[in-house]
């Protein structure tokens, strides 16, 4: 599996310990999500702050924009809201739009967009195995960390298996278009599930044979320094300051 993001340069967020970045990202997203949709200029403030972080992180705008495509389903849902919501209406050209619907759409769109930018920043500056170490350091329940670690490790093995199966199907003249191909795809998925399940059993046996007792030994990574924390917490604290300012102005 390729690394989780652009890891070529050793920019400042790349050098921060993963647990610090996870806390900073989650805190920032929390502040963004909990901000009321009005006044809208707060979000402009957030966007400027995030733009500054993207600019200095070395992640590259291209990466950020191309990965923002995951937001498309949310956008589709948000665009529908002004048409289906009820309440006082505003006229925009030929369209009669619901005002609460417009605000709801704005609320979803802006928060999803900013939240996704924060997640992209975290993912593009942290490799997947480091994320697992970070969660372990943050005392996330062991079983969840183990499940996540196994997923990080085996996702490429399972996708590789799926690709080989797809190639073998294609080599025998199979085209995966239209509902007629669904039964074949469903059976392939079933086979993939059984194979992965059996692999899971073999992995477990191999772990047992090396003395596994249900707990993953803690990874011996360096703890974060207070300097790391103060660098990483600048982002959520600045965002929080903008939120506080807007609250103070609106009062």
């Amino acid at each position: 599996m390729p690394p989780a993001g652009d890891v070529s340069g050793a920019s400042w967020p790349r050098r921060l310990p993963p647990q610090v970045k996870i806390v900073a990202a989650v805190a920032t997203i929390l502040v963004i999500v909990l901000t009321p949709p009005r006044p809208p200029w707060v979000f402009l403030g957030y966007a400027l702050i995030l733009a500054a972080v993207v600019q200095s992180s070395g992640v590259g705008w291209r990466t950020v924009f191309s990965r923002m495509r995951v937001e498309v389903p949310f956008v589709a849902f948000a665009v529908l809201l002004p048409f289906i919501a009820t309440g006082p209406e505003v006229t925009l050209g030929p369209l009669e739009l619901s005002e609460p619907g417009l605000w709801a759409a704005w609320n979803i769109l802006i928060k999803a967009t900013l939240g996704i930018v924060v997640s992209i920043l975290l993912a593009a500056t942290t490799e997947a195995p480091d994320l697992v170490v970070g969660l372990q350091r943050l005392h996330v329940p062991d079983i969840l960390v183990q499940i996540l670690a196994a997923m990080v490790r085996y996702v490429s093995v399972v996708t590789g298996e799926w690709q080989r199966m797809s190639r073998a199907r294609a080599a025998r003249g199979f085209h995966g278009h239209g509902p007629r191909s669904w039964p074949v795809l469903a059976r392939s998925l079933g086979t993939l599930f059984i194979r992965s399940y059996e692999r899971g059993e073999r992995v477990h046996l191999a772990m047992l044979s090396r003395g596994y007792t249900g707990r993953l030994p803690a990874a011996g990574t360096a703890a974060a320094t207070s300097a790391d924390w103060s660098v990483a917490l600048v982002l959520p604290l600045t965002v929080l300051a903008v939120a506080a300012l807007s609250w103070w102005v609106a009062r």
């Binding site: 490790r153 992995v203 090396r210 003395g211």
Partner: protein, 266 residues
């Protein structure tokens, strides 16, 4: 001293398939033995018994004179190192280093000792350079050598390998062989790769339909065409075990019990 002793071991799977029906096997300290047999002969089932992953239904397995059972299984797993056929089954941690450290950490060793074990094991298999890589970024040959290191780091008395040469290209196959030859500890190698068995193991047994049907110097077993044919074993095309003696097959790295093997042959 006997490192591993198996007596009258039988095992049937829950669906009634009989895998082992009375296996007897003794492996001396420092000896390398190949367990040969066709697919479905019960080789992997036997291997899983050796460190208590499967409990004996009747008969018993003893490691260094200690019977494998519920009370001893934890200790036995640190004495018998199992290397599975597919390295992707064995290597489950995000980095090579973390994976090699998994066994020693389970043994509760202090961190400095774990680090030393990891370094030594990776050095033995020549994989120090990849310590911080992810296992899935390595070639199959490298992954197999790392899988061997994960077990060596536990400093087991006995090494058990399931088809160590499967799917390897000739160079990777030789590199794994070089690694195994220099270890000098009791080794049980389950395989149907007969030339590999000859190269690495002075002694071989043939497991067929859940029974040991032959036991002797590998070269003699491989010279017995009728015996091989009877148990669905075949030498690679054009391979003559007698010729390997003249070209010094594997002779540059003598096994600890090479002299005993030669005496047996004379």
């Amino acid at each position: 001293m006997t490192a591993v002793e198996v007596r009258d071991l039988t095992y049937a799977y829950p669906d009634g398939t009989v895998a082992l029906q009375g296996v007897d096997l003794a492996v001396a300290d420092g000896e390398r033995v190949a367990v040969l047999g066709p697919n479905g002969a019960g080789k992997t089932t036997l291997m899983l018994h050796l460190n208590g992953l499967i409990e004996a239904q009747s008969g018993w397995v003893a490691v260094n004179g200690r019977r494998v059972g519920p009370a001893t299984v934890a200790a036995v797993r640190h004495e018998v190192g199992l290397v599975f056929q597919d390295p992707d089954d064995q290597l489950f941690m995000p980095t090579v280093r973390a994976d090699v450290a998994f066994g020693p950490m389970n043994a509760g060793l202090p961190e400095s000792e774990v680090a030393a074990r990891v370094a030594a094991a990776l050095d033995l298999v020549g994989m120090t350079d990849v310590a911080d890589r992810a296992p899935h970024h390595l070639s199959l040959g490298q992954r197999r050598r790392v899988a061997i290191a994960t077990v060596l780091a536990m400093d087991p008395a006995v090494l058990v390998l399931d088809e160590p040469s499967s799917n390897l290209d000739p160079a990777a196959r030789r590199e794994v062989a070089d690694t195994l030859l220099q270890l000098g500890r009791s080794t049980i190698m389950v395989t149907h790769d007969l030339s590999y068995a000859l190269q690495l193991c002075p002694r071989a047994v043939i497991l067929s339909e859940g029974r040991i049907v032959a036991d002797g110097p590998t070269r003699e077993l491989l010279a017995d065409a009728a015996l091989l044919a009877e148990h669905r074993l075949e030498l690679p095309y054009g391979f003559d075990p007698a010729l390997t003696d003249r070209v010094g097959f594997g002779a540059n790295r003598p096994a600890p019990d090479e002299s005993a093997d030669q005496q047996r042959r004379q």
